[in-house]
């Protein structure tokens, strides 16, 4: 009796928690509301199944609990019931999978008008590179990385000279324009994740990964690292500001190109070891020094 009641309470409690919980996703800021819709469908289907199974169990525990003189039924198999349940399950699973794969094909096929933006992760900060006037990003290689060339841009590639380099600072994006985020890392795995955009993808040293999205509202959004990258992982924050077109153009005008940064008089300030640039992970780098000293 008590057991059946608790099982019912587990279902009722879980449903109420779901409905009343203040913990829900952040207001979306990208085109991936498809993903949110798919999650809602999944919540409905799985919620119904969970409630049905546990309530059925509660009923059985109540109705067929042991009492003196009771004897269980003897029914080893029931082919019809078993096939029927299998078919219903297969239908339910298909109802989840089909919309999921449909949205996934949108997620992995980048629209041709998407602007490329490069994100470079390193312990424990974010840098960015945008194509210059030619609209193309120059090639890069981790083995080229140095204090003067923190992203490893290949100087010999003319496409790279006018690339805009944003080192350890905020990224700005224009609202309503699709962007393809090209993701690189120069040390360990990282993952570029903005909860409001719903999208994320790991960055792997030695490879370029990607995802795309269209920012749908202006605002300031926090970038989190979503792949364990060492002690500084939780402090690897960044900022993406989604601007109106005018604000974006104004911001872009203030940025420096690779060519400007490579000019001799600039090298000092581009040194990644300079105090200011490592601010997000400074607490961690202090700890690391003690590790090395030991």
């Amino acid at each position: 009796m008590a057991v059946a009641l608790v099982l019912v309470l587990v279902v009722v409690g879980s449903v109420l928690f779901h409905l009343l919980s203040p913990w829900w996703w952040t207001p979306i800021a990208s085109n991936w509301d498809y993903i949110d819709h798919t999650i809602i469908i999944t919540f409905w289907i799985t919620g119904v199944v969970f409630a049905a199974v546990v309530l059925f169990m509660a009923y059985c525990v109540f109705r067929f609990r042991h009492r003196e003189g009771n004897r269980a039924a003897y029914e080893p198999e029931n082919k019809r019931l078993e096939s029927w349940l299998t078919i219903v399950t297969a239908v339910g699973v298909t109802a989840l999978l089909v919309p999921g794969l449909f949205v996934w094909s949108r997620f992995v096929n980048v629209p041709s008008d998407a602007t490329e933006v490069e994100v470079v992760g390193q312990q424990w900060q974010w840098s960015f590179r945008l194509p210059g006037k030619d609209g193309k990003l120059g090639t890069s290689d981790t083995s080229n990385v140095s204090a003067e060339n923190p992203l490893g841009v290949i100087a010999a590639d003319p496409n790279g000279q006018d690339d805009v380099v944003v080192e350890a600072a905020d990224l700005h994006l224009p609202v309503g324009k699709p962007v393809k985020m090209l993701l690189r890392s120069i040390d360990v795995l990282h993952d570029f994740y903005v909860p409001e955009f719903r999208a994320k993808m790991d960055m792997i040293p030695g490879s370029v990964t990607y995802f795309w999205f269209t920012p749908t509202r202006t605002g300031t959004f926090q970038v989190l690292c979503a792949e364990l990258c060492g002690q500084g992982h939780p402090l690897m924050n960044g900022v993406v500001m989604v601007d109106t077109q005018e604000d974006y153009v104004a911001w872009l005008g203030e940025q420096q190109t690779f060519a400007q940064l490579s000019a001799p008089q600039q090298t000092g300030s581009a040194d990644p070891a300079a105090a200011g640039t490592l601010a997000p992970g400074s607490k961690i780098s202090a700890k690391l020094e003690t590790v090395e000293a030991r």
Partner: protein, 589 residues
């Protein structure tokens, strides 16, 4: 399948019995024992001991998450060491070792009607190598730099770099060596379990008469023998990368402004190898639990397991399918995105046989005679938590839904519910169920009730709300959750609540341990078959069973394992070794 075989249809013994190795001293009887039952207890005790370490580690990490900034000694470095060791211990050194080394060793020979495992000496070695693996693991807590903090997935490059605790110290090396030892030890035991099930079954014990416990452990062992080699090579290669400077998994890297001497390696190759092991590993833990819980439900509901043949094929089917779903752990790893279509499809297909198992468990309850014993309570709680955790798997398996949720607390909640809480509830149920056979005495009922309710409801209250933190977007593996705009005041409160529940649930496990020890002497006498069960381990002439398990003659099996409440039979159970036809039972159409 209720085939009532006349006694003369039992095949004659094919080979004579071999004499067992008989121990001559206390040492060879209780320490360097070749008796599978003693080895089982050694495995279980060691796994429980190291499991207590994992429990304490979980408390420490919950202290940090629930009350950030309060405990200065939990540095980010320490936090990552705690989560890594907690995960690794729970998955490998506790769950795998306890289900296969513990329950497998104790139950397989008894349930199939064998005198012992077929290779007792190798079986003994298996345990001692496992113990060595555990000691190497523990030693990393005392090594310079402490244990590795790379996360239990040990992803390179960070696992072997300076920015990760233990990465350039001893931690990662000891971890990899320990895993390699574990796999060697497991392989010795695993071969034993497989050959024993296939070769040493007593007369009349056909494969389709095996209790589902044996089917679960057997299939899981076959899977483990196929999956662990992938982890083995991954560990060896990473050890080479770390110790010899090779570049299997290491591309060109700039670490803190300095170029490392690596190039050309593939970090993602490690992930494929790891999850080729890692996903089957989930089922290596789950399948024994599926099998055991089927027997618990059937015995304590006094009713045959519903759809036995379907249950067997579901176990085998899940085992096979689990080898083609591994990359669903890697949807956002940067692998080729078209893999997503394939792995999402296979992953959701596996939901079908899994769902069938759930239906058959609850249909076994239907029209049963349900005794709400402690093992039954744990079995019911298993169904609740397993259904819950299985259903959230449909979120994460469905590739695009995984994108916002992966690497968040939703994942942590999901896998704890489905492969932490659910199988551990089965372990508890199984201990309450078989403890009388192992010791001859029952565990204390009142302590058992307390343990059950606190553990079940407490664990549910820990992990059910945690999903919603993931829905908010809170990432997992954050030593500090403070610098985030999405981290609201109420989310902090929820985290504190979860931590408090974790301390309470942990405390209940100490009560359980006390019960285990106290009842050895003070428990109620159990007799040979306290649950009135049908399977062979309850039919031994002595309780606890002696070396050799059965008396002079091995039992002969005349029926399947689930002849409960056969219409017309006097008792509501007919043991497998009882000959003759009873009542109106007949093989179903």
């Amino acid at each position: 399948m209720v085939d009532i075989t006349p006694a003369d249809a039992v095949p004659p013994a094919e080979v004579g019995e071999m004499e067992l190795y008989h121990p001559h001293s206390w040492w060879t009887k209780y320490v360097f024992s070749q008796d599978a039952k003693v080895i089982a207890i050694q495995y279980s005790a060691t796994a429980t001991a190291i499991g207590m370490v994992a429990l304490v580690l979980s408390w420490l990490m919950r202290l940090q998450l629930g009350f950030p900034g309060t405990f200065d000694f939990i540095t980010p470095e320490a936090y990552y060491q705690f989560i890594t060791m907690h995960g690794m211990i729970m998955v490998i050194y506790l769950l795998t070792a306890l289900f296969l080394g513990g329950f497998g060793n104790y139950l397989i020979p008894l349930m199939v009607g064998a005198r012992d495992m077929v290779f007792p000496y190798v079986n003994m070695l298996s345990y001692w190598i496992y113990l060595l693996a555990v000691l190497v693991l523990v030693s990393s807590f005392f090594a310079p730099g402490g244990p590795t903090g790379a996360g239990w997935t040990l992803y390179p490059p960070q696992a072997i770099m300076t920015g990760t605790p233990g990465g350039q110290d001893w931690g990662i090396i000891l971890m990899l060596v320990s895993l390699i030892l574990f796999i060697i030890g497991f392989t010795m035991g695993g071969l034993n379990y497989v050959v024993t099930v296939l070769q040493a079954r007593t007369r009349g014990m056909t494969l389709m008469r095996l209790p589902l416990t044996v089917w679960g452990i057997f299939t899981a062992t076959v899977m483990a023998l196929l999956a662990f080699p992938a982890l083995f090579v991954a560990c060896v290669m990473m050890l080479f990368d770390r110790a010899l400077g090779t570049s299997f998994f290491m591309p060109a890297i700039v670490e803190m402004g300095e170029q490392l001497q690596h190039s050309g390696g593939s970090p993602i190759l490690f992930q494929h190898l790891f999850w080729f092991f890692g996903h089957p590993e989930v089922y290596i833990v789950a399948l024994p639990a599926f099998g055991i819980v089927s027997d618990l439900i059937s015995t304590h509901a006094r009713k045959n397991i519903f759809g036995y043949r379907m249950m067997v094929w579901a176990i085998v089917g899940i085992g096979a399918l689990s080898f083609v779903v591994w990359a669903h752990h890697m949807y956002v790893s940067g692998m080729h995105p078209y893999f997503g279509f394939f792995f999402a499809t296979t992953t959701l297909i596996i939901a079908v046989p899994t769902a069938i198992k759930v239906y058959n468990w609850v249909l076994t309850l239907w029209r049963g005679d349900i005794h709400l014993t402690i093992p039954m309570l744990f079995a019911l709680a298993f169904i609740v938590t397993f259904v819950n955790g299985g259903l959230t798997g449909l979120f994460l398996g469905n590739v695009v839904v995984d994108v916002p949720l992966s690497d968040t607390m939703f994942v942590v909640a999901h896998f704890h519910m489905v492969m932490g809480v659910a199988p551990i509830l089965v372990i508890f149920g199984a201990i309450y169920h078989w403890y009388p056979k192992v010791t001859g005495r029952m565990l204390n009922e009142a302590l058992g009730q307390f343990h059950f309710w606190v553990t079940f409801l407490g664990a549910y209250l820990i992990f059910f709300p945690m999903h919603y933190l993931g829905l908010v977007g809170l990432p997992r593996r954050y030593a500090e959750l403070t610098d985030m705009t999405i981290m609201t005041e109420s989310a902090h409160h929820l985290n504190s609540f979860i931590s408090i529940m974790a301390f309470i649930v942990g405390f209940a496990q100490l009560v359980f341990l006390f019960n285990l020890i106290w009842s050895i002497r003070h428990g109620r006498e159990a007799g040979g078959n306290p649950w009135r069960a049908t399977t062979l381990e309850w039919q031994t002439s002595e309780t606890p069973p002696v070396h050799g398990n059965f008396g002079k003659e091995l039992p002969i099996v005349y029926r399947w394992a689930y002849d409960y409440s056969v219409p017309g039979a006097k008792e509501d159970f007919i043991p497998q070794n009882v000959p003759g036809s009873f009542g109106t039972s007949k093989e179903p159409a």
